[in-house]
């Protein structure tokens, strides 16, 4: 099922495609207390608590669970908004970020054209929120793998962002002294 293109999957109204850490699961909510996940039927007992956390008892095993805030939708590499719902769930203290599709979001996806993607162009993104301390390269400059590109300060630590492979700096989106968000675009590199 995993290789089947999303647009060819026919989902029931109460059926969902859930992707967690790269694993895709097909979840059918049969009734309140029974779900079929990838064809396996699971009986569960869930009593939601006003305080957020609660326990899911599935096939006799207890999982302490909480649905966290809905994540804002993330633009993919090419700037096309992702129609999947991003939902974070805490299970036994571990956060799972799930991308959830229902029949409607799959339809939206199948209608959206995908722009051709230039594999040779690499976007360097901020690995964490922080402050740009200095930029160590210039637009147009040739760079080698491992070379320092810029220095990002967060919580009083300076972190040097380095090139993963050789290439040339195509564009720099930030300036020294600017605060950046996690995943914000910093540079565009033309890979060699």
């Amino acid at each position: 099922m995993e290789k089947e293109p999303a647009r060819h999957i026919a989902l029931a109204r109460n059926e969902y495609l859930v992707a967690i850490n790269g694993v895709r699961m097909r979840v059918l909510l049969n009734s309140d207390g029974v779900a079929t996940v990838n064809g396996v039927r699971h009986a569960y007992d869930l009593h939601e608590s006003p305080e957020g956390g609660t326990s899911l008892i599935m096939d006799g095993s207890v999982f302490e669970v909480a649905v966290l805030a809905r994540k804002r939708q993330r633009a993919d590499q090419d700037g096309i908004p992702d129609a999947s719902e991003r939902i974070a769930v805490s299970v036994n203290g571990t956060d799972f970020e799930a991308a959830v599709d229902d029949r409607h979001s799959l339809l939206v996806k199948s209608l959206m054209k995908t722009t051709a993607h230039d594999a040779r162009s690499i976007t360097v993104r901020a690995p964490m929120p922080g402050l740009i301390v200095r930029i160590e390269v210039e637009a147009g400059q040739a760079i080698s793998a491992g070379q320092g590109l810029l220095v990002l300060e967060a919580m009083k630590m300076e972190n040097e962002i380095r090139a993963l492979q050789a290439g040339r700096v195509k564009e720099i989106f930030v300036q020294s002294g600017r605060a950046v968000e996690k995943d914000e675009r910093l540079m565009l590199i033309d890979a060699e």
Partner: protein
């Protein structure tokens, strides 16, 4: 010198350590006065204090590092003493001096002792004079990068560049070869300058993958100096400790006495008063070398408290008030074994980079054997302004095996949602064969840790998460479970038949 009794203390810090000091104050019947930056307005350390004074600002420089504002707060709150905690101004001799000049007791060593022992170069010199073993390297700070090349050539690569003024891994770089020296020197210098306002560096031979073992010292103002045994702190990432334990799995009574004597000798020679820590590195042959002195309380002080039964913060306050140490060295006994795991807001799967956001879920462990020193509450924001330490989990057992079991149980109960934490990393450590055997050193993380080892949740946890996520999506779109129950059994055939009916 007559001592004014300490009745009110200003805690010049934030987070879990401020809360921990406030608790000691309350147990001693002392009024605890917190300070807070604008972003910390409703932080736990404010809530737990008796009184609180606003510092304003958000960055450390505008608040917890601002000497003028802190002294003003101390005056305004009419305190008798100031406790600096760790980090921030805790090892700043000028601040200690300014506090004393303003008429308050500084709960820490005298400024002269901070200067003598806090400066790594000075401390190393003194250690050599006293016959305490040190690692080969520079005695004076480096003049420039050129000198760094020369000394490194003499002692042999790899070498270590370290900030003369600092600690905690800031301004520290390993240099493996001549090629790396220029950028390493520049970065370490710049980091040291930013972090401590002092860019001086020194250099020493790198003892590869040593153990990091430190000795807790307590000294009163009447000439009594004690050591409280060692802490093993070799599990480090980025030269910062994450998991600590006491006693160390490799230290026996004889070695403990030797290291303890060395630590007491150093402290006594500098007229040290109050709590301090003498750090050593230990090589594979169990030779120990003096590394540096931390002239303050350590993050990991609770492991010593759990095995000795001595409350280090209460002792600090008593000592600052002129009190005498009640025990003699022979009466200090370690009982059982303790471990500490530091819970940082960092993503261990992504090079331990800071993770900010809201603590949407924050449930602490409870029950037997576990102590939690914590600075946050569910709903709090974790921001970029300060150190990302959220809490420390400390467990005790009669044996190392028991304290490890208690720690694993406690970490499993510690649920953090919305922000990544070092909990999964600590769980990795606590389950690793090397750690379980006590056979590890500061190379442990580099050697054995890979992010793939994290989040090994069973398939069943993922299934549970998938069901929860699907239910949440269903709720958003107003679909009730079973809304399309006909699809359950005969999917493909029914699909066509019902297509029209189920499309909204």
């Amino acid at each position: 010198m007559p001592h004014r009794p300490i009745k009110r203390i200003l805690i010049a810090n934030r987070g879990e350590i401020a809360v921990r000091i406030i608790r000691a104050c309350r147990e001693l019947g002392i009024t605890a006065v917190a300070v807070y930056s604008d972003v910390d307005r409703s932080a736990l350390h404010v809530r737990r204090a008796n009184q609180a004074v606003a510092l304003g600002g958000a960055t450390s420089g505008e608040s917890y590092l601002n000497k003028t504002k802190l002294l003003e707060a101390a005056r305004k709150a009419r305190v008798d003493a100031v406790h600096p905690g760790y980090g921030f101004l805790s090892e700043n001799a000028d601040f200690a001096e300014a506090v004393e000049h303003a008429g308050f007791k500084f709960i820490g060593p005298p400024p002269s002792a901070i200067r003598t022992l806090g400066d790594k170069t000075e401390a190393r010199k003194r250690a050599r004079e006293l016959g305490v073993p040190t690692v080969p390297g520079t005695v004076e700070p480096l003049v420039d990068a050129g000198q760094a090349f020369d000394v490194a050539g003499a002692v042999g690569y790899p070498v270590l560049l370290k900030a003369a003024a600092g600690g905690g891994g800031r301004g520290m770089r390993i240099v493996n070869s001549e090629d790396e020296m220029p950028s390493a020197f520049a970065t370490a210098h710049s980091e040291a300058l930013n972090a401590f306002g002092d860019g001086r560096l020194y250099l020493e031979k790198l003892i590869e993958n040593p153990r990091h073992v430190e000795v807790q010292v307590l000294a009163d103002s009447h000439g009594s100096v004690l050591h409280l045994g060692e802490r093993e702190c070799s599990v480090q990432r980025r030269h910062q400790k994450v998991v600590e334990e006491s006693p160390s799995p490799i230290i026996d009574e004889a070695m403990r006495a030797q290291m303890g004597d060395a630590a007491v000798t150093l402290a006594r020679s500098a007229g040290y008063v109050n709590a301090g820590t003498v750090e050593f590195i230990v090589d594979a042959k169990k030779n120990f070398y003096f590394l540096e002195v931390n002239t303050r309380l350590q993050v990991e002080h609770p492991v010593t408290e759990l095995v000795t039964g001595i409350d280090l913060v209460a002792e600090q306050i008593r000592i600052a008030g002129g009190g005498r140490l009640e025990q003699r060295q022979a009466e200090i006994r370690q009982r059982g074994h303790a471990i500490e795991c530091r819970v940082y807001a960092e993503d261990p799967a992504n090079r331990f980079l800071p993770s900010t956001g809201t603590l949407e879920r924050y449930v602490l462990p409870e029950g037997p054997r576990v102590r939690v020193d914590n600075g946050y509450r569910q709903g709090d924001m974790v921001n970029l302004y300060y150190d990302p330490l959220l809490a420390k989990v400390v467990t005790w057992g009669r044996t190392r095996k028991e304290s490890i079991a208690a720690m694993k149980r406690s970490l499993a109960e510690f649920h953090i949602g919305g922000v990544r934490s070092t909990i999964p990393f600590c769980q990795f450590v606590l389950s690793h064969g090397r750690f379980l055997k006590g056979d590890y050193d500061t190379g442990f993380v580099a050697m054995y840790f890979a992010p793939e080892a994290l989040y090994r949740e069973g398939n069943r946890a993922q299934v549970a998460a998938a069901i929860m996520a699907a239910r949440a999506k269903a709720r958003m779109t107003g679909v009730a479970p079973g809304d399309d129950a006909t699809f359950t059994t005969q999917r493909s055939r029914e699909w066509k038949k019902n297509r029209h009916a189920t499309l909204r």
